[in-house]
Subunit: 198 residues, 2 copies
């Protein structure tokens, strides 16, 4: 048997390098040579992992989406007030904002991919799948809260989940443009989620 490498972990590593490049210089800054340098590997290694540049970009998109979802679940798990559904909702949305200094890069990556997805139906489908998962997560939280009597019963879980996601996206844009501070965005989320309480 020949030499073997862990392809999947290498793809993750390269995807991370791609995200850092996008976050700093946008999609235009993603060249195979730069990616290789950022990842600390040679161009040949990158080419072996991904048949073409676009395949690499799609993988990177899914990579950052996965991380957002993970962050959301982590924030729910370590929620400051366990049992409070509105807190869990808020933490999920905070994870989506991804404006926590170190994660601010991810927000720019999200922005770049979303802009591209507005032009490329294939990328749009990837983003929609990601959003579908988040919507479901929020909807479950909302329904749970309604069963517990923590969320006002007249709220429609699905449409409210959509509205919350729309708010998070809008806030992300505003923060990235420097029109909102991180704090004011968080405050807006807090206000919106507490307004759902009974």
């Amino acid at each position: 048997m020949p030499k073997q490498v862990d392809h999947d972990s290498r793809r993750q590593h390269i995807a991370q390098a791609v995200c850092e490049l996008i976050g700093r210089h946008g999609l235009e800054g993603v060249t195979l040579r730069e990616v290789a340098a950022q990842a600390g590997v040679s161009m040949g290694a990158v080419q072996r992992c991904f048949r073409a540049k676009e395949e690499m970009l799609v993988f990177a998109q899914e990579h950052v989406n996965r991380r957002v979802t993970e962050r959301a679940r982590a924030r729910i798990a370590e929620s400051p007030r366990p049992g409070s559904v509105t807190t869990m909702l808020e933490q999920t949305l905070v994870a989506m904002l991804a404006v926590d200094d170190e994660d601010l890069l991810d927000a720019r990556v999200w922005m770049a991919f979303t802009a591209q997805a507005a032009l490329d139906p294939a990328l749009a489908a990837v983003q929609r799948a990601h959003y579908a998962g988040l919507t479901e997560l929020l909807a479950v939280l909302l329904r749970t809260g309604q069963e517990n009597g923590q969320i006002r019963p007249e709220v429609d879980a699905e449409s409210e989940a959509d509205a919350l996601i729309t708010l998070a996206d809008g806030l992300t844009v505003q923060v990235l443009l420097g029109r909102h501070s991180r704090e004011s965005a968080l405050a807006a989320l807090h206000q919106r989620t507490t307004a759902l309480r009974t």
Copy 2:
């Protein structure tokens, strides 16, 4: 005196070509050659109008921003129910959405420039200036409505204007990704603005 051309109108014309290219193929699709072809002029003419590509892009950004503002003012002027401040508010936000079929291109252009502005402080400043004008427009409408007794007095005009803009941006993103239809976005705007009524 030598041959003279109307530089300003030519710049507008080229900017329009740039917008159409961005709307169809993104910022990556904007090359001097493609711009010249789309505008129906030669590359030399483009180079004469703009010293460099970036200058052209900034001008195009301001071009599309101007058009959004104009559309907003036009929609206010031909408001279906003159005198109704909430209707004017709604029409302004509808203009910002720019998802009216023919304007859907502009929404994609907005998205592309905004993503770029998240990386380039100079572009971010241009966008912030644009938003400042829109915020002021909305705030004036809100204050007028409060003086007329059409808008609930406890609303803070500035922060409410910001919130409305955030909503519009979020909805634009959702529509471009195909997660919201044009109609549901308009409905969301309508609901939000009517909620401000006394």
